[in-house]
């Protein structure tokens, strides 16, 4: 077998986990399906093993098996062993351990970061409560100590205003913040093995860098072993000591990180690496162009110039959320999520919004569709004043603008078959019927690379990336003019990501679609956008053509952002010292706080920089 | 010896809500009050008058009643004391009349004082009652459980419209009876203790008593007959086999007695059809299309097996009867013809009347079906009777639709409701009625023409079946003028027969007695249907 051939990097110690021939089955109506067919690998203390692989290849299921949590989700460990080296030195086969023993291990010796941050948090408990629970259980802290430690943890994961956040509820946090809360929870008891399932997917590069550094530090200082599941090859390059590549329930390749990157053996690994977008690839080009994919190199790639016709015009958009407190939950302050934001998107073009987590990107996107009601501002979509529409016309207007939500699981109805969820927009507007609709649904499934058999599945039966693709298919169903894609591809593995990106660009070229593309992946942003807006603390601090912003960043925050982008090359790792970020100021202000209006300096042809104090 | 036997527990499944019969005429209230306040005289278990507070019952013979029947003179026993120790005087008696006759008081027993023109109290013990008209039956005021004497001092401020505000007096009247109220919880429970000033020093035997209310008859029966928690249970209206089964419990004994309560079917002489306009429906303007024919009425009566009804519904607490006035002896007609069921005869009669059997077994005449709506109040025994009678009638080719109506609606006089027994929006209806005391005059007078309920009188009236016969009205008038007992009895029997066997507008079914139960350790119980059941509670005692 392949394992054991690669020597552990961290000396000749015993592995902390040894997975042998793991096989996990799910009972579905079509009989038993195997989420994991045959997987074996080991993780040694103080080592980071990255698991990469196609979405749905069984990464999450393997890690859940290690926690013995698959059973609660309907899975069954059908075979294999999971040897875990306990702190006391004895080795335990987790596959056979009983649940009461597992409880002393979970959260304490093994920490796990879950993929979907929204649903992973209990909606009715405060962040503080959820964080301190594990601390008080495993470390026997009293309330105050636990609170103090929790705040410290929040600070470590760089959540602004941790004291205030302790009292907030999950739905009041941005996607990235929730993700960080989940990370903080997993790190709480300084576990000996940390399983991180796409921990930085929803995070912007600066915070991602910090989290990665934090995990790295933890690994070095306490010898924690890290099992890191990700699809982001740059992160792999940055973090991994060893890499395990999975494909359709099997391990197809395993090796030290450099070897995998430089000399991939398996076809799938090759395809994967070929699909990785690299920052700087687009330097010098003015218009985005589709990626050249393995197996289609000979295909001509045409740039997509778009048009100069304005489709969406946003002026002085402001959105605030109330912060409630006290027994009666009165509004005590406001989150200034979007503060005086203005931009335009041309027909057939893409505007990307980047910026750190919690800076208001999603809120801006939702405000445009009026999914949250903005406090003030103007939104015009191709001549209609969206802000002035009544509910009926607003619905009609949504025919032209669609949104892909950041958290795919939360945004899918758990009770509906995927096919129906994709068909729903067409039902709603009656655009297509009967066979034509069936054909389109099938086509959409094909295009987002979901097997047609998944049409009959329900959201909980999919992997994270697969859910994301359903959400994309749903947004595409109506052929809208504008799509707000909120972290639309961040949960996808690179190969699928590349295909989906190409799909989006192709549709743009063919149909003149416009995108408001919200992402933290700078390489992807560089690849797809015509223009880029950089947000910080609710404001756009810099906006301009992609070329201008990427090649000539002006605002100090933009520069810091660019510097933090990891590179998909293990040889060019960034060291922790290179990272120095300012603490993030709070977007929460008292009710009577009156912010300044945004003023911009024109520094180039299509390039503006905020002159108002942004807080950075 | 007074108070030697400790405590007695009485259960009334209808809970008393007030302790004076003047503000409520519910049996439960009258009987509860009878433990505390007493009249001048009562009726015993045979309907004979016995003096209580009076020295004797005044009669023409002993000079207490004048020959012209316009005056009656009562004499109080000497040395009577109220439970608070003050003496009972004739002023209290006169006050009682004043209290009830006050025009704004809404006195429930006003009828008892009807015809009184004035009351004089020549001395502390003598009360002279004067009537405006000759009063052949002067034993209404101050007689029986409904008209006890209340203390003038206590109720002085409670006259007329103020009557309901005297809650304390109404709940704990000062009386002369064997017990005094210590705690009154309306509609729940009454706690009593022996009256220290009761006229017989040896009575009552019980020091304290509880009169608990609530639940249903079955529960009350169970508490006395099966678990022995209670000593006396009032009015066990239960199927005979149920009582028999309970009696097997061995803790107590059911007792029964008969009065004048007759369960009967009334035939509607007017047309209740919903097609008639409101205001004419069920009025004399439209005679009943089917029941106007006496042959039909008679046939319906003949089809009924009364002894069987008794066996099923009342057992030892019922007797089949053909009379509206089944008692007292001298007033009861000797009519027994109806007691045997005669299905064939009934069929023949209907045939004779022109009702022929149609295709579905239901008789028809001139295209009209012999179909009747039969209503009564909700009560298990009545529903059984309905079912049985429906079956018998179906045997003679009469189709019957049954309806039962909640008692509070059926017997409530709400003119807005279509379901009251007075409105009689049905063809036949069944209920029971009786008369107070031993004299049936006013009872029989209910069937005169002008007493028919009609829209103009807000449907008030006692002539439920709208029977109207001038001859009958004349006889009633004559009865009012007759004082001689034999003569009165003769007229009364004639009136009774006119309503029953001569016309079949009233079809009596069962003479209903009263069943109560007492525990085997309770002695002295004599069931009385002419007065309060608790009339002799002073004599009750413990036996072993």
């Amino acid at each position: 077998m392949l394992d054991h051939t690669t020597a552990p990097l961290s000396g000749e110690k015993d592995p902390i986990v040894r997975i042998e021939n793991l096989r996990v089955g799910f009972q579905t109506k079509d009989g038993e399906v195997f989420g994991v067919e045959d997987v074996s690998f080991s993780v040694y203390p103080g080592e980071t093993v990255c698991i990469v692989g196609e979405s749905g290849s069984g990464k999450s299921v393997s890690s859940l098996s290690l926690m013995r949590l698959v059973e609660f989700g309907g899975g069954q460990i059908a075979g294999g062993h999971l040897f875990f080296d306990r702190a006391q030195g004895d080795s335990l086969d987790i596959a056979e351990a009983d649940q009461s023993l597992m409880r002393t291990i979970r959260g304490n010796e093994i920490g796990m970061i879950f993929q979907e941050p929204m649903t992973a948090l209990n909606p009715v408990f405060t962040i503080g409560r959820q964080l301190t629970e594990g601390l008080r259980l495993h470390l026997d802290l009293d309330r105050d100590e636990a609170d103090a430690r929790a705040i410290e943890l929040l600070r470590e994961v760089r959540i602004p205003e941790p004291e205030r956040r302790m009292k907030q509820y999950p739905h009041e946090l941005s996607g990235g913040m929730r993700q960080r809360v989940v990370i903080a929870m997993a790190l709480a008891c300084k576990p000996r093995l940390l399983i991180a399932d796409e921990p930085t997917t929803a995070l912007d590069v600066t915070i991602q860098a910090e989290i990665l550094a934090l995990m790295d530090r933890l690994k070095r200082e306490t010898g924690t072993a890290v099992m890191f599941i990700t699809h982001d090859m740059a992160v792999v390059a940055q973090m991994a000591d060893r890499v395990v590549v999975m494909f359709r329930g099997n391990k197809v390749e395993e090796g030290p990180v450099a070897e995998i990157f430089n000399n991939p053996q398996h076809n799938y690994t090759k395809a994967l690496l070929a699909a990785v977008p690299k920052l700087g690839e687009m330097t010098g080009k003015s218009a985005p162009e589709p990626m050249r994919l393995l197996g289609a190199e000979d295909k001509e790639v045409k740039p997509i110039p778009g048009t100069q016709e304005v489709l969406l015009e946003v002026k002085n958009l402001t959105t605030r959320f109330p912060v409630k407190g006290g027994f009666f939950r009165r509004t005590v302050a406001q989150v200034h999520a979007v503060e005086d934001v203005s931009f335009t998107i041309n027909k057939g073009q893409t505007l990307s919004l980047v910026g750190e987590s919690g800076c208001g990107k999603s809120s801006a996107g939702r405000s445009i569709l009026r999914l949250v009601e903005p406090n003030s501002g103007q939104v015009r979509l191709g001549g209609t004043d969206v802000m002035a529409l009544n509910q009926r016309d607003l619905r009609r207007a949504r025919l032209d603008m669609q949104m892909i939500f950041q958290d795919p699981f939360a945004s899918l109805n758990p009770q509906m078959m995927l096919r129906d969820q994709v068909a729903e927009p067409m039902w709603n507007f009656g655009t297509l019927r009967g066979q034509a609709m069936e054909d389109r649904i099938a086509m959409l499934f094909d295009r987002v690379h979901l097997p047609r058999s998944f049409m009959r599945r329900y959201p909980h039966e999919l992997s994270g990336g697969q859910r994301q693709r359903v959400a994309i298919a749903r947004a595409l169903a109506l052929n809208p003019k504008l799509i707000v894609a909120d972290e639309a591809v961040s949960a996808l593995d690179v190969s699928v990501q590349a295909q989906v990106l190409n799909l989006m660009m192709e549709l743009q070229a063919e149909l003149g679609l416009s995108f408001l593309f919200i992402s933290h992946d700078m390489a992807v942003v560089e690849r797809v956008s015509h223009r880029v807006g950089v947000m910080y603390l609710g404001r756009i601090v810099e906006i301009g053509s992609r070329q201008a912003v990427f090649e000539n960043p002006q605002h100090p925050y933009t520069r810091a952002l660019m510097k933090a982008v990891p590179i998909a090359d293990p040889a060019r790792r960034k060291s922790e010292r290179e990272l120095n970020f300012k603490p993030i100021p709070s977007p929460i202000h008292d009710l009577d706080y009156r912010p300044e209006a945004s003023a911009y300096d024109k520094v180039g042809d299509d390039h503006f920089v905020l002159t108002t104090d942004s807080g950075y | 010896e007074r108070g030697a036997d400790g405590h007695v527990n009485i259960i009334y499944w209808q809970a008393p809500s007030i302790m004076t019969p003047y503000l409520s005429s519910g049996t439960k209230d009258i009987e509860a009050a009878s433990m505390v306040i007493e009249p001048l005289g009562r009726f015993d278990q045979d309907g004979n008058m016995v003096p209580y507070l009076a020295q004797e019952i005044p009669t023409i013979e002993n000079g207490g009643v004048t020959e012209d029947l316009k005056q009656i003179t009562w004499k109080l026993k000497e040395g009577l004391l109220w439970s608070d120790g003050t003496p009972v005087t004739s002023a209290d008696v006169a006050f009682t009349a004043e209290y009830c006759m006050h025009p704004e008081g809404g006195c429930a027993q006003l009828a008892k004082f009807e015809g009184i023109s004035s009351i004089e109290t020549p001395d502390d013990l003598t009360i002279v009652v004067n009537f405006a008209e000759p009063k052949p039956n002067p034993y209404q005021a101050f007689m029986g459980g409904q008209a006890p004497i209340i203390q003038a001092a206590q109720f002085a401020e409670c006259l007329g419209a103020k009557a309901p505000e005297c809650t304390e007096a109404n709940f704990a009247p000062i009386g002369t009876g064997p017990f005094v109220v210590t705690d009154f919880r309306p509609n729940d429970v009454i706690s009593l203790e022996a009256n220290p000033n009761y006229r017989d020093a040896a009575k009552p035997a019980f020091a304290t008593a509880t009169l608990k209310g609530g639940g249903d008859a079955a529960a009350a029966g169970r508490a006395v007959l099966e678990t022995g928690e209670f000593d006396y249970a009032w009015n066990l209206q239960l199927a005979p086999e149920v009582i028999a089964k309970m009696a097997e419990g061995g803790k107590g004994t059911p007792v029964s007695a008969f009065g004048t309560l007759v369960e009967r079917i009334e035939m509607n002489m007017t047309d209740p059809s919903p097609n008639l306009p409101e205001g004419e429906r069920a009025t004399e303007a439209h005679p009943h299309p089917i029941l106007s024919d006496i042959k039909v009425r008679k046939a319906l009566s003949m089809a009924i097996d009364r002894p069987l009804l008794v066996e099923i519904g009342y057992g030892q607490a019922g007797r089949p009867t053909c009379n509206l006035v089944p008692a007292p002896e001298i007033y009861a007609s000797d009519n027994t013809e109806c007691l045997t069921q005669d299905i064939e005869g009934a069929k023949a009669l209907l045939e004779e009347a022109g009702w022929t059997v149609g295709a579905d077994g239901v008789r028809e005449k001139d295209g009209m079906k012999l179909k009747l709506l039969y209503q009564t109040s909700t009560n298990a025994v009545r529903q059984d009777f309905q079912a049985l009678i429906k079956q018998w009638w179906s045997e003679i080719g009469v189709e019957t639709e049954l309806r039962n109506i909640s008692g509070s609606v059926f017997f409530g006089g709400d003119p807005g409701s279509p379901d009251t027994f007075q409105k009689f929006y049905a063809d036949v209806e069944m209920y029971a009625n009786n008369f107070d005391g031993t004299d049936p005059e006013s009872y029989l007078a209910q069937h005169t023409c002008e007493k028919a309920p009609k829209p103009s009188s807000q449907w008030q009236g006692e002539n439920i079946n709208r029977f109207c016969d001038p001859e009958y009205d004349a006889l009633v008038a004559e009865l009012g003028k007759t004082g001689e007992l034999d003569k009165r009895a003769e007229i009364a029997k004639k009136l009774n027969d006119m309503l029953t066997k001569d016309s079949y507008v009233v079809v009596p079914l069962v003479d209903r007695g009263r069943v109560s139960a007492h525990s085997n350790t309770l002695g002295g119980v004599i069931l009385n249907t002419w007065d309060s059941e608790l009339w002799n509670v002073a004599d009750w005692h413990r036996v072993n």
Partner: protein, 335 residues
């Protein structure tokens, strides 16, 4: 949410006034007559006089106004007098029952203790039993426990108290003689022995009542728990190493409480309202029995007052339930 609560409280006043009007109208419209229980031997003229003495002759709005005034103006002052020994309400006519001719509120106050003792205990017992049963049945869905629990509670629910009450009386009072079949409302608890007596007389009615309530709450609890047990956050909680007890009893339970809170809150006015049939069967003579006898006797002021008090409680507890939703689930927004 404070504004929400205040707004709701303010809104409650017209709502309640409206409700009282509707109830009044309903009672006026309902067939029935306070004279229904008067023996047929009493002549119609006398009945008519009695009706007039009750104020029945007045137009409906006069009667309604009279009641309103008595309830909202006189009674509060009587209460004030009773507490502070003042005499504000002297000479005012209080709301009187037609049956007993005594002030309604006095009777209500007299009845409350036994109702609260019996129905309240039953409710508390039922909730205390129902929640664990519901939770555990959901947690071990289709286990023996769940099936037995379902079976017993559904049978308990589907058997009406007029039957189950009599059944337990026949078994435990008549045949075994363990408990009294008739509740003694005059009994006072002063020491341990009297407490035991009280306990003995409460056991049967409490048992019968609790069975009904338990069944309901347990079913809702179970269903709601089932909905939440499969959520992702439960997995997270487990991943923290929390014991199943904590996972189920705090994480899942809190999320599942909304429908259960509704059921429980809706039930509380009924504690004060008494349990009509059970009170009848055991002769508890609490508020429920008061209401039913008042209805049977067509005692309009009594029915009106009692139902109005229930209405107040219902409105109040629905408000409390709404506030609880907001506390249980921070996502719910009211304003």
């Amino acid at each position: 949410m404070l504004t929400f609560t205040i707004r709701r409280l303010v809104l409650a006043v017209p709502t309640l006034l409206f409700i009282s009007l509707v109830i009044f109208g309903l009672l006026m419209l309902a067939p029935g007559d306070p004279m229904a229980n008067v023996p047929l031997t009493v002549p119609p003229e006398v009945k008519q006089k009695m009706r007039e003495a009750l104020g029945l002759g007045d137009a409906w709005h006069v009667q309604y106004w009279k009641w309103l005034r008595q309830f909202f103006w006189v009674e509060p002052r009587v209460l004030f007098d009773a507490i502070f020994g003042t005499s504000l309400a002297e000479g005012e006519l209080r709301a009187l029952s037609w049956q007993t001719r005594s002030p309604i509120m006095d009777i209500v106050v007299q009845r409350l203790p036994q109702t609260l003792w019996v129905v309240g205990t039953a409710y508390v017992v039922a909730v205390l039993i129902a929640l664990p049963i519901g939770i555990y049945s959901a947690y071990r869905q289709y286990s023996v426990f769940d099936n037995v629990g379902t079976f017993v509670s559904m049978i308990g629910f589907s058997v009406p108290p007029f039957f189950s009450g009599v059944l337990v009386i026949v078994i435990f009072s008549v045949n075994l003689g363990w408990f009294p079949s008739i509740y003694d409302t005059t009994h006072k608890v002063v020491d341990w022995d009297t407490f035991v007596v009280q306990l003995r007389q409460m056991i049967l009615p409490v048992m019968v009542l609790a069975l009904q309530i338990t069944a309901q709450i347990a079913r809702f609890m179970r269903a709601s728990m089932l909905d939440n047990l499969n959520q992702d956050y439960v997995r997270t909680a487990r991943a923290k190493g929390l014991g199943e007890k904590v996972v189920v009893l705090s994480h899942v339970l809190r999320n599942s409480m909304i429908p259960v809170v509704t059921v429980i809150a809706l039930g509380i006015p009924q504690i004060f309202g008494g349990a009509i049939i059970t009170e009848q069967v055991f002769k508890v003579n609490g508020i429920g029995q008061l209401l039913i006898t008042a209805i049977q006797a067509n005692d309009l002021p009594m029915v009106q007052t009692l139902t109005f008090i229930f209405a107040v409680l219902i409105v109040l507890f629905n408000l409390i339930a709404d506030v609880l939703y907001g506390i249980l689930d921070p996502r719910i927004r009211y304003d």
